[in-house]
């Protein structure tokens, strides 16, 4: 049965989720996710970037990020929620696998179900060098 969860509680969930990214804590990340969940990464071959469908794939996708950006931080987060939709905005900083550093703004478009995250749809600014 669906439970009524306040917007305020969902903002708290997004704060917990954002902290877990900065702590690189995969178990806390997955604790924020609904049993049936999807993650669409900002970069990939699909119209919606990369696709990770189902809890196991989402976990693999998150772990890939944590492994590839061991010092990755999502800075200065801002969140807002209305009903079953929410947003986190952040400034991503990390050392890339090739040793160069990246700093780019980004955001997550969330969908909630029963007080957990059922969809994380991510975007990052496409930072050009010129």
């Amino acid at each position: 049965m669906a439970t009524e969860v306040s917007d305020q509680a969902k903002v708290a969930l997004l704060e917990k989720f954002g902290n877990a990214w900065n702590d690189h804590d995969i178990d806390v990340l997955m604790d924020c996710m609904a049993d049936e969940c999807e993650f669409f990464g900002s970069t990939g071959p699909h119209v919606n970037g990369s696709q990770f469908l189902g809890r196991e794939k989402v976990r693999e996708g998150y772990q890939w990020f944590l492994d590839n950006f061991p010092d990755g931080q999502w800075n200065d987060p801002q969140h807002f929620v209305n009903g079953d939709r929410g947003v986190s905005e952040w400034r991503f900083t990390a050392t890339m696998p090739d040793g160069t550093s990246i700093e780019a703004n980004g955001c997550d478009m969330f969908t909630f179900r029963d007080g957990k995250i059922s969809v994380k749809d991510s975007y990052r600014k496409n930072r050009t060098t010129s």
Binding site: G44, P45, F80, V87, D121, N126
Partner: protein
């Protein structure tokens, strides 16, 4: 103004902005933005993308995006939600890129409203890799 009235006014402005974009109606889009509006585009040399500030730069940016760059840009299946003075438009984009190649990607605008108008439009697009 009550909170609900604010949100209704804001979402109406966001939807009207999208419809004006579909018509390439730059005047109608400009009428929905504050005088000190800021537009951060989805790409550029800075962390927040290329920044256009104020109505003059905004008009130049919209003319470039809508008229100079691509004559076939379309935003499909828009979805909107608003919370207070924050909001989002999500859309599919189809059009022609600067290099002449056709492009189809999802994107979104993250918005700050003031007085029922758009004060900040922060745009994002998926970085679609070749497949």
């Amino acid at each position: 103004m009550t909170k609900n009235n604010t949100e209704q006014k804001n979402i109406a402005a966001l939807k009207a902005f999208g419809l004006a974009g579909d018509r390439y109606d730059i005047d109608a889009m400009m009428a929905l933005m504050t005088e000190d509006c800021v537009f951060n585009s989805s790409f550029g040399p800075e962390a927040h993308g290329t920044r256009y500030q104020g109505l003059d730069q905004m008009r130049e940016a919209l003319q470039w995006f809508l008229e100079d760059r691509s004559s076939d840009s379309k935003w499909t299946n828009p979805k909107h939600f608003v919370k207070g003075d924050r909001g989002v438009a999500e859309w599919g984009f189809t059009g022609t890129d600067a290099d002449g190649s056709s492009v189809e990607v999802h994107g979104c605008d993250v918005i700050k409203f003031r007085d029922g108008k758009i004060a900040l439009k922060d745009s994002y697009r998926k970085n679609r890799t070749t497949h």
